[in-house]
Symmetry: C2
Subunit: 238 residues, 2 copies
């Protein structure tokens, strides 16, 4: 429906869904890809960390491998949009805090959704990838314990970040949510820490969050979210 | 962009914006109407209570009048969608609680967005309409004090309700948010209480909230929402 509207950030599911363990894949990758060419997400059962670049979806799994993803692969949660980044600046020797500061040059605003993209070389990269869990799914806090952490030095690649305003914490995670993919696919995953060596920093501002919910999923429909500690669990897990 | 996708609830602005008094109209009615034919909202400075039915927008003002709205009229907050209601049942002698119970027959879910429409006669209707405030705008709590309350008996009309899941409280108001318009335009506004005499109850389920933010509004961009008591203020005002 949205014909490459680059002002829209599409989100399937919410992070709140994952908190109690509603980890069923409720959207196929081919359907997700009809809403953009750039994104992040996870598979059913928290099956790895996904990154979508130039319309191609990759999975960083808990074994440290980067895998192609089939069009039938399902996701419980994902963000996707059509890339239309504006180059802001080159950036060097930058921590996550330095990057956040540099992104402010593009006058994004903490009350709005936007995306930050860094292509370049990273002197340090630390990621994690959750291992797929099987039914019956446990809570996010329990499931996410079964993860692998990866570290490397001097790697070229792409860091893709989404920034969400605090009002939407629960639907998304307030602040930055970042995934990484090495150019040679030697490392990928949910970003825990990094140091940029040299890179280009680009930004894309959205004016709309298109929040899609899995209304045909009975577990979701039946779940009482009022007892979940959504905000804290997401802050800790993401 | 969304060509009459009846699964989408479009929202311009958030209720959180109104809390600190960001009451500038940031979308013209003609643009809002490009996203649906049925909706609710308010004007700049909380200029009355809006209801959109069959593609026509009306304003219930604080003087008790129902006015047509020009295409240049601006809104700080509104919900709109393309009507595709499924008739559920007839309903009689029903309070707000009875209506909420009856709507469950359509198996909407409290974790999803949906809309409820009642057309019929109401043995009692109590509405309010806020009076437009001028710049500099005060907070929602202060501005909303300057409102008129209207009551009537035995009136025919349309009750339009949107239900939002609690996860989105702040963006919207959790639970039902209802506006009313009498068939003869004798009364309208934000619904405080009612008793349905006889009516038909219809429901429309959404799978997507299309949340549009006023990213070009400098006051919004500059505002620090972290000090606002968003959740409680909305619960009290709405």
């Amino acid at each position: 429906m949205n014909m490459k509207n680059t002002n829209i950030l599409y989100q399937h599911g919410t992070l709140a869904l994952l908190v109690p363990g509603l980890l069923t894949g409720t959207l196929k990758m081919k359907n997700l890809l009809s809403h953009g060419d750039t994104g992040i997400g996870t598979g059913e059962g928290l099956d790895g960390e996904l990154i979508i670049l130039n319309g191609i979806a990759y999975q960083a799994d808990s074994f440290g491998k980067v895998n192609p993803i089939s069009s039938e692969f399902t996701v419980p949660f994902a963000n996707i949009h059509y890339a239309d980044y504006k180059k802001l600046t080159t950036i060097a020797n930058a921590s996550p805090a330095d990057l956040a500061k540099a992104a402010l040059q593009g006058k994004p605003n903490s009350n709005n959704f936007f995306s930050v993209l860094v292509k370049g070389t990273f002197s340090y990269m630390k990621t994690r990838a959750v291992a797929k869990s099987e039914r019956p799914f446990s809570t996010l806090a329990e499931t996410a314990k079964n993860q692998s952490v990866f570290e490397t030095k001097n790697v070229a690649g792409t860091l893709l970040s989404y920034y969400s305003p605090s009002l939407f914490h629960g639907a998304a995670v307030a602040g930055y949510h970042s995934h990484f993919l090495a150019s040679d696919h030697s490392i990928g995953g949910h970003v825990l820490d990094f140091k940029i060596d040299q890179g280009t920093l680009s930004l894309q501002q959205f004016d709309t969050l298109e929040q899609h919910l899995p209304i045909d999923n009975e577990e979701f429909n039946a779940h009482d979210f009022s007892k979940d500690d959504i905000a804290n669990t997401i802050s800790q897990a993401e």
